[in-house]
């Protein structure tokens, strides 16, 4: 398990852009992607703001070259994974052992919801083609097949840390010399199921979310997909372009506290960050930027904040929650934010935490408020903490 894992390509689609370049441009302009509900058909329209990808299914289908009947989760996945693969500029992936590891939490629930409207009224009605793709693994399989990846594919569904865990699993596959290239990340589309579920948990903000602010009220749901192309050093040697950086550390630790809440001491987040640092051989002072999980819920941000304090006090690196731009895209968020973390190293940038006003009373630090350029960003930590106490931290390091 001594192999290095390099990042050769990145792809992302989110509420702030349909590709990596558009996302970066939105950060520069400090423009978030949160708005009234436009595409999702729900009774919560005009009541709850969300961060939708600004394309209809038809437009996504045109972008990716598949049928508009395809589930939105699959369409988003295909857009971002395709971008990551072409960005990596690896010629002839078929000559390598290549895998696809993708996280998601909703599968093709969006299509199942279409099915149910007819089915509930009359159980002889409803189009079965809308449910055959329902389960999470089906999304991964469809995209892997379209990308021509045959050697290995798997799906990871651990709530909001799904995509980060997909990246961890991919790293293990490369380090164990089972695969040479893994496209790893995650995807999730907005659905009634997730919006209603989070609304039931009473953790949605009726206004635009305010991560790490003392007056935060909750999260805004988002959607999107993000993927990294992870490669072994053997593949890196044959690459025609420079790799972005390497994945130097990672850890998954569990809070073992509550189904949907973090422990008040931030045990899981603390352990994930600490052990990821240990794995990378780095110290807290080496981290130049933390991409926080920062959902904007009262519970997450205090638990994560206390964990950051326990680990980093008294010297804090710049940190921010990019969910203030993209909303919380659940099973995709860990990968979308991993892409942003990789780009922070490449471009020497720090992302702002929008709408921050008041420091959390219990915490001695506050997030970065402005888009910063020209920074020396050597090591970035990216946090993703999921329901069930499933906490993951990734560390990316320049080479």
């Amino acid at each position: 398990m001594s192999q290095e894992v390099y990042i050769a390509g990145v792809g992302a689609i989110s509420a702030i852009g349909n590709n990596v370049a558009q996302c970066l441009s939105s950060f520069e302009k400090e423009l978030d992607g949160i708005d009234e509900i436009t595409y999702l058909d729900t009774i919560h329209r005009f009541k709850l703001p969300v961060a939708e990808v600004k394309l209809s299914n038809k437009e996504l289908a045109e972008l990716t070259g598949v049928s508009a009947e395809t589930s939105r989760t699959t369409l988003l996945s295909l857009a971002a994974a395709g971008e990551a693969l072409s960005d990596s500029a690896i010629s002839g992936i078929s000559s390598y052992r290549t895998g696809f590891v993708s996280g998601n939490t909703v599968g093709s629930m969006d299509k199942s919801e279409d099915f149910f409207i007819d089915f509930i009224a009359d159980n002889r009605k409803g189009k079965l083609r809308n449910v055959f793709d329902h389960e999470c693994g089906s999304v991964t399989e469809t995209v892997a097949n379209l990308l021509g990846i045959k050697d290995y594919m798997t799906t990871i569904s651990t709530a909001c840390s799904s995509a980060a865990n997909a990246i961890v699993h991919a790293a293990h596959l490369i380090k164990s010399d089972l695969l040479d290239i893994v496209i790893a990340g995650g995807t999730d589309a907005l659905t009634k199921f997730t919006l209603n579920g989070f609304n039931t948990l009473m953790i949605l903000d009726k206004n635009f979310c305010m991560p790490f602010d003392d007056n935060r009220q909750g999260l805004n749901l988002g959607e999107g997909a993000g993927y990294l192309v992870l490669i072994s050093s053997k593949v890196a040697k044959n690459l025609n372009k420079a790799v972005y950086c390497k994945l130097s550390g990672y850890n998954n630790s569990n809070d073992a506290y509550h189904q949907t809440a973090s422990s008040p001491e931030g045990t899981g987040p603390y352990l994930a960050m600490k052990k990821a640092l240990e794995k990378s051989g780095l110290h807290p002072k080496d981290i130049d930027y933390i991409n926080l999980h920062g959902t904007g819920t009262p519970n997450n941000d205090i638990a994560e904040g206390i964990a950051v304090k326990r680990l980093f006090d008294p010297v804090y690196p710049p940190m921010s929650s990019t969910k203030s731009f993209t909303g919380h895209s659940l099973g995709a968020s860990g990968a979308i934010e991993a892409v942003f973390s990789v780009l922070a190293i490449r471009h020497g940038i720090i992302y702002p935490n929008l709408r921050f006003e008041t420091r959390i009373q219990e915490l001695p630090f506050e997030p970065e408020k402005r888009f910063l350029t020209g920074r020396a960003v050597h090591h970035v930590m990216s946090n993703s903490f999921g329901f069930g106490g499933n906490c993951t931290s990734l560390i990316f390091s320049e080479i």
């Binding site: 209603n196 579920g197 609304n199 039931t200 948990l201 009473m202 569990n254 073992a256 506290y257 509550h258 189904q259 949907t260 069930g388």
Partner: protein
Amino acid sequence: MDRLSKLGWLASEILLKDSFRKEIYRPEDIGLVLSNANSSLDTDQKYMASIHDIPSPALFVYTLPNIVTGEICIRNNFKGENAFFLFNSFNAYFIENYVADLLENGIMEACICGWVELLGNEFIAALFLIEKLKGNKAVSLSKEYMEKIFKSKNIDL
């Protein structure tokens, strides 16, 4: 805690109170494999009823059967593999195979397994403690013995 979790929690307390020395194991080596027929339906129905007024977050978080495994893990600081399976009736054949495989392959050293079923006024919990180390009164893991114990308690299968 919902009623299914309380049932599993109580049954595990009874199972473990005298005979289990958890301190000889690492938390990662103790796992759970539970099963039932009606999943979390008891709580699902209560949650559905609550939607007419205000959907209850406290009920919502229990609308999964495997929450009971999590509650038992948190109570005892077990951190090994855990799973919850649905069967029409107690499936000793499956439990034996599944648990034996986990133990033989070094995935875990001890396992709490069995049946935790609750719907309305009907409830049954039958848990077994399976360890690699042979305890004083221990017998070999077999589906026949599990079935026998299940039936000897006059449990209606």
